[in-house]
Every structure is written in C-alpha cells, then in structure tokens.
Amino acid sequence: MTVGAIYALVALGFTLIYNSSDVANFAQGEFVMLGGMVTFFGYAAGLPLFVAAVLAIVVAAVVGLLLYRLAIEPARRASPVTLIIITIGASIFIRGVTAIVLDKNFHSLPSFFGNEPFVIGGATLLPQSLVVMFGVSLVLIALWLFMSRTLRGKSLLATAANRTAAQLTGINTRAVTSTAFVISAAIGAIGGVLATPITLTYYDAGTLLALKGFAAAVLGGMGNPLGAVVGGLVLGLLEQFSAGYLSSQYKDAVAFIVILLVLFTMPQGLFGAKSVERV
C-alpha cells in the first residue's frame, strides 16, 4: 500500500501534465528521485530534515518549470511522440546531472517518527508507512481544494478541457501549463521525500518509477486524476501480491503486464473518459 501511494503520486503528476499540455512526461520519476536525493544531501549538510525536504521540493519544482520552458514549450507544435522523446531525453539529462553534482550511491533518510513498528490486529506497520499514507492524503486534499475552490485551479481544468477556448476566454495558457509542471514536480518530490526512508533512493531511481506511474495512469484511465490515484494503489497492491504469492523477481514485470492487459481489454482504463458529444 505504501508503494502504491507513491505510484499514485507519480501517476497524479503524470495526469496533471498530460491534461494541461497533452505531454506524456516520462521525466516524472526524476522529480521523485530529486525529492529524495536533494533532501538527503541537504540533511547530510546539516540542515534540519524538514528544511532539507522543503528545499528538495523547491528544487524539483524549479526543474519542472525549466523542463517546460526550455524543452517542451519551444517544441509546442511537435508530434506527441517527439514530445515523449524530449521528456525521455530530459530525464536522462536530469539523471546525469544528479549523478555528477550529487553522487551515484544509494541513500536513505531517517524515518520521520522512528523505526519502532507497531501492531494492529496482527499486521505490523512501520510508522513511516503511516507518514506516507497521511502525506499522500494531504497532497490529494490540497490538490482537490486548489482545483475546486480557486479560479486558478479552474483555469487549469479549463485549459485541459479546451486549450483554444481557454485562450479565447483570456486564460494565460502558458502560465497555466507552467503551473501544472511546477505542481506536478512538487508532488513527485513530496513522494520522494516520503518514500525514501522506506525504499532508498539513488540517481537512477526515477526511470522505473516513471514507467510504473505511467502504468498506473493508464490503468486508471489516462487523464483522470481519481483514476490515477486508484490505479497507483491497485498497481502497488498487485505488485505486493505477486511478490508474496509468486516471486519478488517478477514484481517489476507486473506494471508492464498491467499496461498490456489494460490496452488490450479496456483501452480507456478503469475511469476513462466516456466521450459524450452533443451536437
């Protein structure tokens, strides 16, 4: 469930960017990696854990903004495949810079509230797992409030629904898409901060996360935020079950089997948009 929550965040970031700019951002996993890595180095340099975490989230958000302004926006009119390749290139670049500026080792963070597991009805639970669940829930609630209560959130939804109409209405769609990249990078980084005490992180951790987040987004129905969250949780559970009942060696294959099954049997995913058009 903990892993699933992280996949859910990655998938959510994916969905945000996909909705606001039609880009499938395969650099999404790098934000998670940056979240963990920058926090570790900040913490190692003597910053309090919380400050280091905030710093990491800001760094990731800035990287997200630069990714949009320098790589995606200039190629606005390119085909989706070209844009995907650009994001893959960007992800390799971010990984490379991280490996050089920081390092190539595995790192962990101390758990926020100790390592003493507690037992609920026969199941043992790490405090950090609860932190992850709690943190993910907070992110979801904050995002939901932003989308449903603020005009800025509405303009993001409007841009996602119809970009040209949004421009004609007077919405600054470039600023909106920048916001989407920043928010989604920050969400990814929060995921990284929360998960690193359990899962460890290193410069190359983002690739697999991006692919699994993509699988979760596809499972939930590309473009649907609720679907992304459910898809992430379901994918996390499937992985754990397969590790438990089959072999943990096949764990990583689950995500890809899920992608194939979803695409073959229900291409719209669990919560895919029912396309209704009124004439």
Partner: protein, 233 residues
C-alpha cells in the same frame, strides 16, 4: 476600433487568407458573409491571436496588436464566441462564466454575473450543472455570456446560430440586437446571411480568402450577386 489590413495567414504551406483588409468602427455591427471554407473563422482566430499571421497588420484602438498573446487581447477588450460554442463542458455554468471574467481587474465581476443570469434566465436555472449537460441553445447562450463577462469593447461572434432550431436562431439574433442597442461593437460571422445582413450596419463578402465586395447591410441584401450566392434567392 479594429482595422485589419493586408492580412495573410496559412495552415502549413497552404495560404488561406490572401491579403484581407476590413474595418470595424466603434458602435458598429459588421458582418462577414461567405461560404464554408472561405476563411471567415480563420480571420476571427487571427484577430484573437490563436491563428498565426504571416503578413499584414491588425490595429485595435490605434495599437498594433499582432504580436500580443491571446489572453492579452482579451484583457484589452477583444472577446470571441468561437465557432461550435467551445464551452468548458466538464465545468459548471457558473465556473464557465467566472472564467470569462478572469482577465478583469475591477470588482464588477459579481454584478456582471448577476446580469448574465438576468439576461439568460435558463443559465441561472442550471448555474451549478456541468455545462456539457446543457442543450445546444443554452450552450450558445453560455458561450456568449462567457465572452461578455470579459467586458469586451469588441465582440467577435463566430457562427452563433449554427446548428440551432429556428426559434433559437431567432433568440440569438434578438440577443445580438440587444447588445447592439447597448452600443457594443460586434464583428459577426454568419452563414445565415439574410439575418446577419439585416441586423448589420455594414457587411463584407469573403470568397476563398479574399474580400470581394462590401457595403451597408441593405446594399448587400439587394445586391444581385450576393442574393444569388448566399441568400438562395
């Protein structure tokens, strides 16, 4: 208020507007008549800044606006009701209207919102329903209301009566007449040339990306060529 001169625009390598010039003066209703594919919508999109322009100029209130981004043009007073309504279907009626006023810096947005509901009572009834559930006529009202929320000086209307039942078409033209009476400047693109020319002060006829004739609404209504080509008489 608006002066377009020698405007050309292309989709990829194909030029669709070949040097269009037209003018809309303050307080006028000007209509642009032409068949499918003549470039009417392209011209409106270019004026709003969502269609690239390859040469020529667009002046609005004595300023060259050709380089302005679309949302700036809305903020400066050019709002468009796009072809096919293009409302934000997943959002509610109320949210659609509020987004219409997103460029506003004054505090009259709530008052204008109330006015829209008074002008279009059907919208008030469904204010918290998602816009996608509205009927075609109501969606068109919403699209017009959304554009008016920006308090435009110039309203661009692209085929507002398209695909609507006759009684609704009449209602749309009544609305346009009302906006005209209030002094709003309007550039109206219509396939329903008869009704459009009847309400307009002046009109332009556009054929395959060129303005072929212009005159007052009355003159064009009685022009033999226009009658044959666009009025089916």
């Amino acid at each position: 208020m608006l002066a377009v001169s020698n405007l050309t625009s292309r989709y990829g390598r194909i030029e669709v507007l070949h040097g269009i010039s037209l003018e809309v003066r303050t307080g006028e209703v000007v209509t642009l008549v032409g068949s499918n594919g003549a470039g009417k919508s392209t011209l409106l999109r270019a004026i709003s800044g969502v269609q690239p322009v390859s040469s020529g100029s667009i002046m609005f209130d004595e300023q060259a606006i050709g380089k302005w981004r679309p949302h700036v043009r809305v903020a400066k007073g050019i709002a468009q009701v796009p072809e096919g309504r293009q409302i934000f279907t997943p959002l509610t009626v109320d949210e659609n209207l509020r987004l219409g006023g997103i460029t506003r810096r004054d505090d009259g947005v709530s008052a204008d919102l109330a006015e829209m509901y008074a002008m279009f009572p059907a919208l008030g009834e469904f204010r918290n329903k998602t816009a996608g559930t509205l009927s075609g006529g109501q969606q068109q009202m919403l699209a017009i209301g959304r554009a008016l929320m920006a308090r435009p000086k110039l309203l661009l209307l692209d085929e507002p009566s398209m695909g609507l039942a006759p009684v609704l078409v009449e209602q749309i033209f009544t609305t346009i007449g009302m906006l005209k009476a209030r002094g709003l400047t309007i550039l109206l693109v219509e396939q329903n040339a008869n009704a459009a020319l009847a309400i307009a002060d002046r009109g332009y006829v556009i054929e395959t990306g060129r303005i072929v004739t212009t005159g007052t609404g009355k003159e064009l209504l009685s022009d033999e060529r226009v009658r044959n080509a666009y009025l089916g008489l």
